[in-house]
Symmetry: C2
Subunit: 240 residues, 2 copies
């Protein structure tokens, strides 16, 4: 006859768990010996291993109880279902591992992969860290506001960065302008060039680039220090 400790060890569960299964009515209470100790039979061990296996698969104990006295067909069906969702969970954990690996490598994890690639391109182009953070936050906000629009816009923006040298130059100049004095004469010139580019560009295609007011507004709200005196002045100059 088996004591509770040996039974638990055989089945690979804790003694506490065995008592818990008794309470829940999953495992029959065995007889007691003269001192009140529970004394188990081999059948209990068989039942317990069955319970443990189902519980380890994440089946709620209440359902385990039902399955224990289900007929073989129902059991087989239930097992198939449990197995399927075990497979899904394994797959989910596998993906979690991948994300975890990215968490090691910085912030790529936190944005859609298109956006992550775009941020890498901007970094390669020489954009400032501040600018890149601003972009990241802007895209996150846009993504929450409208995932579909964000997907279209990011594609167009990447095409511009890749294919339009004047756009790249303007982008970097805007970035640099962040720290200029508000009365810096270069601001007016930059505003001019930008308007010229936009006029030429707007006639060919609809989206507006970085300076898109909606994005700017969102980004500004998203984080303190998202604008500067020079940028405010630049915005006013371009408004005219």
């Amino acid at each position: 006859m088996i004591t509770i400790g040996r039974l638990a060890e055989y089945a690979g569960v804790s003694v506490k768990a065995v008592r818990h299964y008794h309470e829940r009515g999953l495992l029959a209470e065995p007889g007691r010996d003269s001192s009140g100790y529970r004394r188990y039979t081999a059948q209990h061990a068989v039942d317990l291993v069955k319970i443990r296996t189902l519980a380890a698969a994440g089946v709620p104990l209440a359902r385990v109880k039902d399955l224990l006295d289900a007929d073989p067909d129902q059991l087989a069906e239930a097992i198939a279902e449990i197995d399927g969702d075990l497979r899904d969970r394994i797959e989910g954990l596998r993906r979690t591992r991948e994300q975890l690996a990215q968490l090691r490598g910085g912030e790529r994890l936190f944005v859609a992969s298109e956006v992550a690639a775009h941020l890498d391109e901007l970094r390669a182009l020489g954009a400032s860290d501040r600018q890149i953070r601003l972009e990241r936050d802007g895209w996150i906000l846009m993504h929450t506001a409208s995932p579909e629009d964000a997907a279209v816009w990011i594609t167009e923006k990447r095409e511009l960065i890749e294919g339009d040298a004047e756009f790249r130059a303007l982008y970097l100049d805007h970035d640099a302008a962040f720290g200029w004095a508000p009365d810096d004469p270069r601001l007016a010139a930059l505003a001019d060039r930008t308007r010229t580019w936009m006029a030429g560009h707007r006639s060919r295609s609809e989206p507006r680039p970085v300076q898109n007011p909606a994005i700017a507004r969102l980004a500004r709200q998203s984080q303190p220090g998202a604008t500067s005196p020079a940028w405010d002045r630049l915005a006013r100059l371009m408004q005219d």
Copy 2:
């Protein structure tokens, strides 16, 4: 600015979970708008995705909290550890799936694989279901009592079943004798043959076969109906 619902959707968690993270101090409470609604920034989204990733990896929230403001080295170390035990958990689930598959196929699951193979051999030999159940229970009991001894004994028993024709015959006759009348004259003859075999066998090797009293006693205690009048008589005959 993002509402709690959009934030939750972006990060793939429930609204309730977001509030829970606030309560636990994992995610900073954002400002409120004029009607008391929480209004999030992109930074919150970044933080939340980080939290979700760690939580999905099974890291307790209390530890997630610590990791959020750990320095990069500590974080990297922790991630390596978390990743390792994610790998272990995937492996564990994979094994659970295998056991689940066996649960479909009967009782092999509940005993060590050596024993399962032995039970299959006995079935192939033509042993009764009752006998096989008795064996299964006996081995489970032995295994809980002393896994090392059980391992040795099962090996020896399988060798006998495979290599000793007289042992096989005796085994099947003992099985059949279960249902005989207690005064069946075949019992005395069987007892004789058994004693003869044991005498010849004991001289070559130490273990005693099926009739091993310890096993018999264990098996008898393990389950009602583990003996019969004929078996009791057989035991008395062999004792003489």
